[in-house]
Symmetry: C2
Subunit: 410 residues, 2 copies
């Protein structure tokens, strides 16, 4: 007895409820007549659906109020989506921090708590920071843990979705844990764990420039490099949840994908934050300039920012370094473009603060390597991308359960 798509008239009601809900969540408060024209349903039907959803707590009546143009005729009752009917939690847990975001059912962030974890040396430390951040965010939002409808978390590394175990997380020592199980001990609701680049792609689709892109590639470019692939409205995870792992591209003849001691792949070693600093230092040796003092503490991602900042000021060495990095990056980006032909490529994480100089350099370098020049942009979501994407994933999960299930009450 599968819960297939067939069924009686109640299925009809569920479909139409979803339509009404979608129309209402997109726009602000609407009258029943507005809803009728927007959904294509008849007014009586909309009335019934709204009544049902109202009883379920998903809708609320709102006083007309003189909020708009005074129309003639009997004023309509307005109904709005009760975004506060439930909340979801989006988590971004990385090497240095734990970020917990609480959002309502429209995806609006209502609370956020960032916990620094640069001192963490074990997964237990990291989990402790996560718990602190979660407590803080929930308190700020004024809700209890049991009120959370769905949770999603983003983490670096390969994740066994949907099980939620971190299979391979180079860079985080001891982070090979059953993260989902840990989270389920705190939350009494569905928990998902995903690769961070994938989640950032989701966020970009919702908040960023990718709203009308059918195929979107988000490239997480910081210390590590990875890609999230979004096709239609669906994340492309691949057979082993390893899709988009371009950090392990081995472009040089004779190179292999084997990770180094820090767990980084060959492409990450070529264009990651450390490589950017290295390129800057290298160019400064020849040309001098602002980057001459760039010390060996280049592991700090802010070192890369210094290179981009100097390039923006016209420093010769820095400009050369940026071009070197852009050329290398283009060689890894080109295969992605040829294989997927995406509508848009968004570059995020640390390097997203690089500015337009890097972007144009990449465009120049990648142009001759592809058939059609791609749309290429820098993310504007900053450090929140992963957590916002986690909210999106949790939201999508919650929505599948919020609609009243079809079936005869008898």
């Amino acid at each position: 007895m599968e819960a297939s798509a067939h069924g009686g008239p109640p299925l009809m009601r569920q479909i139409n409820s979803a339509h009404v809900l979608a129309a209402l969540r997109g726009a602000g408060p609407l009258s029943l007549s507005d809803l009728a024209t927007r959904t294509g349903l008849s007014r009586p039907t909309v009335g019934q659906v709204v009544e049902q959803l109202h009883a379920g707590g998903l809708l609320a009546w709102v006083e007309p109020g003189q909020d708009g143009l005074p129309r003639s005729g009997r004023p309509a009752r307005l109904v709005r989506f009760r975004a506060e009917a439930a909340h979801v939690v989006g988590i971004d847990i990385g090497r240095h921090k734990a970020l917990v975001t609480v959002a309502d059912l429209t995806g609006t962030v209502v609370a956020e708590h960032r916990e620094d974890a640069s001192g963490a040396s074990s997964s237990a430390d990291l989990l402790a920071a996560l718990r602190t951040a979660a407590r803080g965010a929930l308190a700020q939002a004024g809700i209890r843990r049991t009120d959370v409808a769905s949770v999603a978390a983003g983490t670096p590394g390969l994740v066994d979705w949907p099980r939620g175990a971190v299979m391979l997380a180079p860079g985080l020592p001891g982070w090979k844990i059953e993260l989902a199980r840990e989270l389920r001990r705190s939350f009494r609701c569905p928990v998902q764990v995903e690769n961070d680049a994938n989640l950032a792609a989701l966020a970009e689709r919702r908040h960023g420039l990718a709203r009308d892109a059918r195929t979107l590639v988000f490239i997480y470019w910081g210390e590590r490099v990875g890609a999230g692939v979004l096709i239609g409205d669906q994340l492309h995870r691949g057979a082993a949840n390893a899709a988009g792992e371009i950090g392990f591209l081995a472009l040089e003849e004779g190179a292999t994908a084997a990770p180094d001691h820090f767990g980084r792949g060959p492409f990450e070693r070529m264009v990651g934050a450390e490589a950017i600093v290295e390129a800057g230092r290298d160019a400064a040796k020849r040309h001098g300039g602002l980057l001459a003092g760039l010390g060996p503490d280049g592991l700090d991602p802010r070192g890369a920012e210094a290179v981009f900042a100097a390039a923006a000021q016209g420093d010769l060495a820095a400009v050369e370094a940026v071009h070197t990095i852009a050329r290398r990056f283009a060689r890894g980006l080109a295969p992605v473009l040829l294989v997927l032909d995406p509508d848009l490529v968004v570059i995020g994480a640390g390097v997203s603060r690089a500015g337009s100089a890097l972007l144009t350099a990449i465009r120049d370098s990648v142009g001759p390597l592809t058939l059609v020049p791609p749309r290429l942009e820098l993310s504007r979501l900053g450090d929140d991308a992963v957590a916002l994407g986690a909210v999106e994933l949790a939201l999508a999960e919650a929505e599948t359960r919020l609609l009243p299930a079809p079936g005869y009450p008898a």
Copy 2:
């Protein structure tokens, strides 16, 4: 007024009709009770649906006949899908041939006509061969052009889907035409034109080893090299219908994607049929052996077959050539695997006859270049893959129109 998914009870009927039809097309003749249990619908509902579909000509009653085990109880009436209710046409048009396939609504091929076009020097010649092949196939199938429900054609090059114009077809001089418009002059039904590698991927999903693969990459490997990407049940075409154009991968440092005088990309020049012959000739120069007499007429794809055949016999030079080609191919395959992480990669077209030696050599070479070893197979569909895929595409289109549309008769 969009023809959205909402609607009244008639939509319900359409959904359930589709379920009944699917169940019936998958298995042989079934009784109404069988259909009820398989679809989860009630028997009376199935009765109504079947009656309606029968009136539409899509179903036929079949005499019980002593075809099975004698069951007790009243014998059930059996109903079957009328595959002969309509026919679709799948076309493979390439540089040297025109292949037209006629299939019924289950996708079973009922006629096939291959027209040699090695002497064709213009698009007019090629179209003439196509028309001859089409006439022959339709005559063999015993149907008229006006009886065809849907047509799909596969061609090399970039295709502007869904418009059906060939935008860029290096290798076929003068083939930059509005192929779909040409075909529409012959057929009074929907016509689709697609990239040949994409269609071969569809065929592999239906007939080949990929039936349970969620993500499938078909690699067309002959004189030209291209990939078709199938995700879920959907072709991934990309923003400019340029997805999978891996023939233009520029792997060497300093190389560009620019096509040569024959319109071939850099990766095609490295591993295409001609490169295989070249590698064989090169190795024979050093080692001698069976390939010593390999003349300069290496443009013939059968030259590549000679290399593989010699390698199968243990010829030293040929084995070395195969390994050289496998190493090069692996370098282009690895990015595809890292980006998409497919369940299965199928290698088709000319090289699919290479045998297992090439396959294991590729596996060995690509292993160190990826994170998870891929499933890699040779196609077993031979020359029919593209035409069979075209049938699949035409079928999918036809099916959307065969179901009785919902809506009140009033």
